[in-house]
């Protein structure tokens, strides 16, 4: 593995290998950063090979690596150089080990002689290049399993469910044609399924014009990523001073399970008053409530009315005024203060370029915010991205006990 900017590995098992992970195929470190946790190396000679060294000053941060709770008991060397020189020996479980540049921030004193030697405190940081064991962070126990690993839950696949358990949206009368208002039909579908069934959104484009309340204890699955198209044409979702949820998952104080997967949310024309997903539900056991492979794709594709024919970039204008016809949503995802859930592989993409019209131009789509996390109960956000919103891509506010791994963003 000799390139890329960001890696996050967990629950990796390496058996019967000479080399586990080789970060040193090139003569100098070339990896961005890697994180390895809750993993096991069994009958491995060199578990991790690196050529990182704090004395390399040309690219002092290349090859950054963090190891957390990794079992090297049956590895000869945990971390070593290509020539076999051991940096961290095998034979034990390593709680926390780091290589790379480290910064520890604090409020430190600064004395002002011209003001009677008054002392004020300012943010400062202590920098150390490290290649050594470190103290593990004080991870909230609620984020961990009983064996001390981070909670992990793969996407449910329902392979033991009979076909009859899948309740089809289209068989239930929803149009999914990108034109018909399916709000009431989808609400009825979600209200009608029981705990042994799956609300199944056949591939299509379902137009939604007012809030749909998702009750707890149901399962929702899309067929090859159907679109939920948020439309402001009934007067909802158009006012950024009074934003409204589109999919409201549970209400404040509700507890239960919920599984949602394989759906793409889009805007059908400007919806600057839409909070596309508002998650209030608190999981009733770790990761029992969650979303897998649910995405947001705002503008830039056929049927959205937010395309390059009206929303192309114009950087030569001295001061760009946002085009009211090219707004996306107020907020893509809001995890509210009462919530707690597991998210895996969720991409909130505001189109910065056209996908379908053949100019493939770069676009000015104005979407307010990406992901806002306000939960205090354990919440996991694993492998995701929020890109090209205006105010923030990720914001954590008044929150606690949050695990995020492999998050990615791009500025608007």
């Amino acid at each position: 593995m000799n390139w890329d900017w960001l890696w996050s590995f967990k629950y990796i098992t390496v058996n019967n290998c000479s080399i586990g992970i080789n970060l040193a195929e090139q003569s100098t470190p070339s990896l961005g950063s890697a994180f390895l946790t809750d993993s096991v190396f069994t009958n491995v000679n060199q578990a991790i090979i690196t050529n990182f060294n704090c004395s390399v000053t040309s690219e002092p941060a290349a090859g950054s690596l963090y190891i957390g709770n990794v079992d090297f008991r049956e590895a000869n060397a945990a971390v070593s150089y290509p020539n076999g020189t051991v940096i961290l020996p095998g034979g034990s479980i390593v709680p926390a080990w780091i290589q790379g540049e480290t910064y520890s921030a604090y409020y430190g004193p600064e004395v002002f002689p011209t003001h009677g030697n008054e002392t004020c405190y300012f943010p400062m940081a202590k920098q150390v290049c490290a290649q050594q064991s470190v103290n593990p962070p004080p991870v909230s126990s609620g984020l961990l399993t009983s064996s001390g690993k981070f909670v992990d839950r793969g996407k449910p696949v329902y392979d033991n469910y009979p076909v009859s358990a899948f309740v089809s949206a289209k068989t239930s009368g929803c149009a999914g044609d990108g034109v018909t208002d399916d709000t009431a039909c989808l609400q009825n579908l979600f209200d009608s399924v029981n705990q042994n069934q799956v609300a199944y959104l056949d591939h299509g484009a379902y137009v939604v014009t007012s809030t749909i309340v998702i009750p707890p204890n149901i399962r929702i699955m899309g067929e090859a990523w159907p679109y939920i198209m948020v439309s402001a044409n009934k007067g909802n979702f158009g006012d950024p001073t009074n934003p409204q949820p589109v999919f409201q998952v549970g209400t404040t104080g509700q507890t239960g399970f919920l599984e949602m997967q394989d759906i793409i949310f889009e805007c059908l024309g400007p919806t600057p008053g839409a909070i596309i997903v508002q998650w209030n539900l608190l999981q009733d056991s770790p990761a029992s409530a969650g979303m897998w492979d649910v995405h947001w794709r705002i503008g830039g594709s056929a049927g959205t009315e937010l395309e390059s024919n009206i929303c192309s970039k114009n950087p030569s204008v001295e001061i760009t005024t946002p085009n009211p016809s090219c707004y996306g949503a107020f907020l893509l995802m809001h995890i509210t203060s009462s919530a707690g859930l597991y998210m895996e592989n969720n991409w909130g993409w505001v189109a910065d370029h056209e996908l379908d019209m053949t100019d493939y131009n770069q676009l000015n789509i104005w979407n307010g915010r990406g992901l806002l996390v306000e939960s205090t109960a354990p919440t996991w956000i694993v492998g995701g991205s929020f890109e090209h919103s205006q105010l923030f891509n990720y914001q954590v506010a008044n929150a606690q006990n949050l695990y995020m791994s492999a998050i990615q963003s791009e500025t608007a």
Partner: protein
Amino acid sequence: MQTNPRANVAFAANPTYSDPTFQYCFQDICYKTWGLRVYSSTYIFIYGAGLYSFFQNYDSTCLLTESCQENAVSLEESEAIYIFGLYTIGMENLVQVDGTDLIPDGENINTFGQSVAIFEFP
């Protein structure tokens, strides 16, 4: 498109959503989408973050000097914040704490961008 116009032009900051107000900004490239903003929070654990800024008004010349954006991360009124494996592109600084820039880009060159193995504010 930023900063033509700035990040706070299309949508006004709304305190109900703890929106950023960019009150610490002194230069134009500060008014850009926060990659990650942590406000009034504790016990936040981030393992692997890639926060990128490739343009200034659709011009990527700023990548040559890592000056497309002033900061990727803002921590405000928070503690017990742990970030492992922070990787950025196009940022003058990687992290700001309560308005003070703490990690200049040049100390942490890493292939195409910048990285730190640990940033903690215990």
